[in-house]
């Protein structure tokens, strides 16, 4: 198999290829280019979202100050983004550990809900069980269209949670949703670059939250 459009004309060429050095050089060049591209997209995204991040981080810090907890959710790679967010907030490299839990962790709950009521409800049903006024919902969907993530935001808004969404492309349905208080969009059409930039957004958000909490404690703000 070959991906070159003319490869079918020369079916034996690739199979006879034996010297890997030129391929390895191509791979390295491709990796170098994508490392540069990824870092550029992350820098541009942080730049473009600068004021949105400051506003979102401040709102999250207010919730944490009043005892709020963070619930994170997403599917597939976005599930691991949710899990990573919880790891970062709860076990930070420095600063104050904050109450956060992932709605993708408990496989008994996930499979019970998926089996009995449908996968589109796996996150919203957990919010019904856990969420209290003052909590925070953080959802990830690179397409902006994951039905269970959008449904969880509807449930979260009904319970007056602060809702924070991260997505890619043009933002999809998430960017249009009136139940998402803060929507951070990575303008890329590569799932990989979107996920890398979402990591950068969450790291920045976490650091703004920590900064706000520190300033509050210095100024004696409750």
């Amino acid at each position: 198999m070959t991906s070159e459009p003319t490869g079918f004309l020369y079916p034996f060429i690739d199979a006879e290829e034996r010297d890997s050095s030129s391929l390895v050089a191509d791979l390295a060049a491709s990796a170098r280019a994508k490392i540069g591209e990824s870092r550029a997209i992350r820098a541009a995204t942080l730049d473009r979202c600068d004021s949105a991040l400051a506003e979102t981080g401040r709102a999250m810090a207010d919730r944490f100050q009043r005892g709020g907890r963070l619930f994170a959710f997403g599917n597939g790679g976005s599930a691991t983004d949710a899990e990573g967010t919880v790891e970062l907030f709860r076990n930070p490299p420095h600063g104050r550990p904050l109450a956060a839990m992932s709605l993708v962790d408990d496989r008994a709950v996930l499979t019970a809900l998926a089996n009995d009521v449908g996968f589109e409800l796996v996150f919203s049903r957990q919010l019904i069980a856990h969420a209290k006024e003052g909590d925070i919902a953080v959802g990830f969907s690179t397409s902006g269209g994951s039905v269970n993530v959008l449904g969880a935001f509807v449930e979260a808004a009904r319970r007056t949670l602060l809702t924070v969404g991260l997505c890619g492309y043009e933002g999809g349905a998430m960017a249009q949703s009136d139940v998402v208080d803060h929507c951070l969009v990575v303008r890329s059409d590569s799932v990989h670059r979107i996920q890398e930039a979402q990591d950068a957004l969450i790291l920045r958000l976490w650091s703004i939250v920590q900064q706000c909490l520190e300033e509050d404690s210095e100024s004696g703000r409750p």
Binding site: M1, A15, R18, L23, A31, K34, G77, E87, P93, W206
Partner: protein, 253 residues
Amino acid sequence: MMPVVGAPETLEEISPAEDLAAAALSLARRFAAGATMWCVAPQWPAHARHVAVEFVHPVIVGKRALPAVHVEAVDVAGALRLLGRPGDVLLAVSDADDPLVTELLRRSEAWGLNRLWLGAGPRPRPGLAEHVVWLDGADPALAARSGDMVLLYHLLWELTHVVFEHPGLLEDEPVCTDDVCITCSDEGRVAEVRTVRDQTSAEVVVSGLTETVDVSLVEPVEAGDLVLVHAGVVLSTLHHGEHGQQAAFEGFR
């Protein structure tokens, strides 16, 4: 084969891109030969899960699903010892100091696994993995969250699939390409003790194969010990027991 690591001043020139390319070629060859990739990230489990989902369920429709598994167990070493087969791959994501990763990498040598280590911060000392892909100089705790770590395995996945488009290059590398080949040279090999027969002999696993070796030159060994074997004789004990003292690793190599 492990890329040659030169003097410290040349390390700067080895960017993750070159190391990723070499790692991807090797990984594709292992997959083509039927390997499973076992993933661990004790400090950041989300990364090991992300690697697994990346390879099993590719974001690009039509790319083949490749067997990658996040190993989640109370006793990760015990699980891997049972699950891993010679020729499989262990992928670890951590900083250079992670004690569990260090132990798994060391034992994996005896189990015959190929080791691929992604990380950040000060580099680990050489010899613990066939491929080390490192974000030099970064704060590991921040690199793990900044998008750089996930970028490393996104690229590893992508480059591995590019290699699959070159079937002529998928045949495994010849065993001896380096000047010093561990298998054929005078160097000792790392083995894990399975069963002690008596004061002079024990069954050990070396490169995934069981051998009976002479243990009369060393203090009594027990199952789970890591030992150095040369020509059928155990020369020294590197690490005592299933969950032995980490200190035993520190002076090694």
